[in-house]
């Protein structure tokens, strides 16, 4: 029995066989390493993708707020620009009004001067002016009334 087993199984120490098996071992080892590497790389990629997705989802509200703030800021800038133009217009109007007020003040001063003169003239007038007496006899009518079409009178109503 021992001889038969020896005849079927070549000896492990056979160098020829060893030479034949060596490349096969290298290939197997290389394939296994590559498979392991690919599997590891895929796992890492999946984990990285999941991390990126989580980060993007977490940043989305902040990004929306930033966009809204940018829009509001643009609107404020437009309002400020408009107010600036309005302010410039009001300033121009005020300058014009100021000129008109100055002119009116000048007129008032002139009027005050005239009033002062009138007051002075009035103060110089006598309190009472005697008039010549006129004869009065009964009812003096300036003119006769015109003929009339009707007369309104006590109607009794």
């Amino acid at each position: 029995m021992t001889e038969r087993r020896e005849a079927r199984e070549p000896s492990a120490a056979d160098p020829f066989v060893e030479r034949l098996r060596r490349p096969l071992h290298f290939g197997t080892l290389l394939g296994a390493s590559a498979g392991l590497y690919a599997t590891t790389l895929t796992g890492v990629s999946v984990l990285q993708q999941q991390a990126d997705d989580g980060l993007g989802a977490a940043r989305a509200p902040a990004a929306e707020r930033a966009a809204a703030l940018r829009t509001a800021n643009d609107e404020l800038a437009r309002i400020v620009e408009r107010l600036d133009r309005s302010n410039a217009s009001i300033a121009g109007g005020y300058a014009g009004s100021r000129i008109e007020i100055d002119r009116l003040e000048g007129d008032l001063e002139a009027l005050a001067s005239v009033v002062g003169e009138v007051r002075g003239a009035a103060a110089a007038l006598p309190d009472r002016i005697p008039l010549p007496s006129l004869p009065r006899g009964g009812s003096v009518r300036v003119a006769k009334p015109p003929a009339t079409h009707a007369t309104t009178r006590a109607s009794g109503g």
Binding site: P145, T148, S155, G157
Partner: protein
């Protein structure tokens, strides 16, 4: 000449195309002056005027026992009764006048007139006789004179007096009817006992209307009464409230007149003798002259000027006054030195 037509008097303006008619209605003289119309249309206008005044008498007189107003007064406080268009207009007018004059005009002074001795038709036990007890007590400006309903009925709580407002309405309606019967370029002047209305085309220079001097009658040396002013009236009305007529002794023996102050129930217009108002409508001219008169001498100037009315008035001392609007209407003013 038709019935009632008279020749033009010497003292009036004489023009070739003027026709004048005279008669009487509502207890006073009625006079129609027409210009620019042929005799046939002027006669038709005069008939329309007399007919309108007759209809108003039947409808609005408080002295007739068979008038519609007397029937309404007898139903006072008993709910709505059917009323004609003319009576509805009178009730609506007096109700509005009562509110717009702050109560100085109030047709419910009928109870006071009866108490003072100015008796109209017998009203029996209208309002259960309670209206007589209200004499002398102001109803206030909030209380309604009448409720006028869409189904041509109306109800009153106390009997009412048509008075000058009724005559003013008669003038309004008569002038309107007469004007429709005259040619387009004709005009008329209608005078009902001193209340005057002009309609249509006036003569060149307008209708000239004198304002009576209410104290002229007391001067025996005055042969012809000279007006205190002459005003020009193209279209519109002039009315006068005066104590010169309708004065009598009350049952208590006092001299009283018909212009009752609703606030006191007694004759009003303290210190005034006459008030004249020129306005567009004769009924409102009557209402305004009466409400100004009732205000008395102390308040009339303020009220008349505040309302912008053309008003003339004479006080018991003979002093004459007018508003700026009245002065503008005058073509002549009696400048008697006081």
């Amino acid at each position: 000449m038709a019935d009632g037509q008279v020749a033009i008097e010497a003292a009036t303006v004489e023009t070739a195309d003027v026709l004048r008619f005279e008669g009487s209605a509502l207890g006073s003289r009625l006079q129609l002056t027409v210009r620019g119309a042929d005799e046939a249309s002027a006669n038709a206008a005069w008939r329309a005027v007399r007919d309108e005044f007759a209809v108003v008498d039947v409808s609005l007189s408080r002295y007739r026992g068979d008038s519609e107003l007397t029937a309404l007064n007898r139903s006072a406080g008993r709910g709505p009764v059917a009323v004609s268009r003319r009576l509805r207009v009178l009730l609506a007018l007096t109700d509005r006048a009562h509110r717009t004059t702050d109560g100085r005009f109030d047709p419910r002074v009928l109870a006071d007139l009866e108490r003072l001795g100015d008796h109209g038709a017998d009203l029996g036990d209208a309002d259960g006789g309670a209206w007589r007890a209200r004499a002398g007590r102001s109803s206030g400006t909030r209380a309604r004179i009448a409720l006028v309903f869409r189904d041509r009925t109306a109800s009153i709580d106390a009997p009412v007096d048509s008075g000058g407002a009724g005559k003013g309405l008669a003038l309004r309606w008569a002038a309107s009817r007469a004007r429709e019967l005259l040619p387009r370029d004709a005009g008329l002047l209608l005078d009902a006992g001193g209340d005057v209305v002009a309609s249509g085309m006036p003569p060149p220079g307008g209708w000239l209307v004198g304002v009576e001097d209410p104290l002229a009658g007391s001067d025996p040396g005055t042969a012809v009464a000279v007006p205190i002013a002459v005003l020009r009236l193209d279209v519109g009305a002039v009315a006068t409230s005066s104590t010169r007529i309708r004065q009598w002794r009350s049952p208590a023996g006092e001299l009283v007149h018909h212009l009752i102050d609703p606030a006191t129930g007694e004759p009003g217009g303290d210190g005034l003798v006459a008030v004249t108002v020129a306005l567009t409508d004769p009924a409102w001219a009557e209402i305004c002259s009466k409400s100004l008169f009732v205000a008395g001498r102390s308040r009339i100037a303020e009220l008349a000027r505040a309302t912008g009315l053309a008003a003339w008035w004479v006080d018991a001392d003979g002093a004459r006054s007018m508003t700026p609007a009245a002065r503008q209407r005058c073509v002549w003013v009696d400048e008697v030195p006081s």
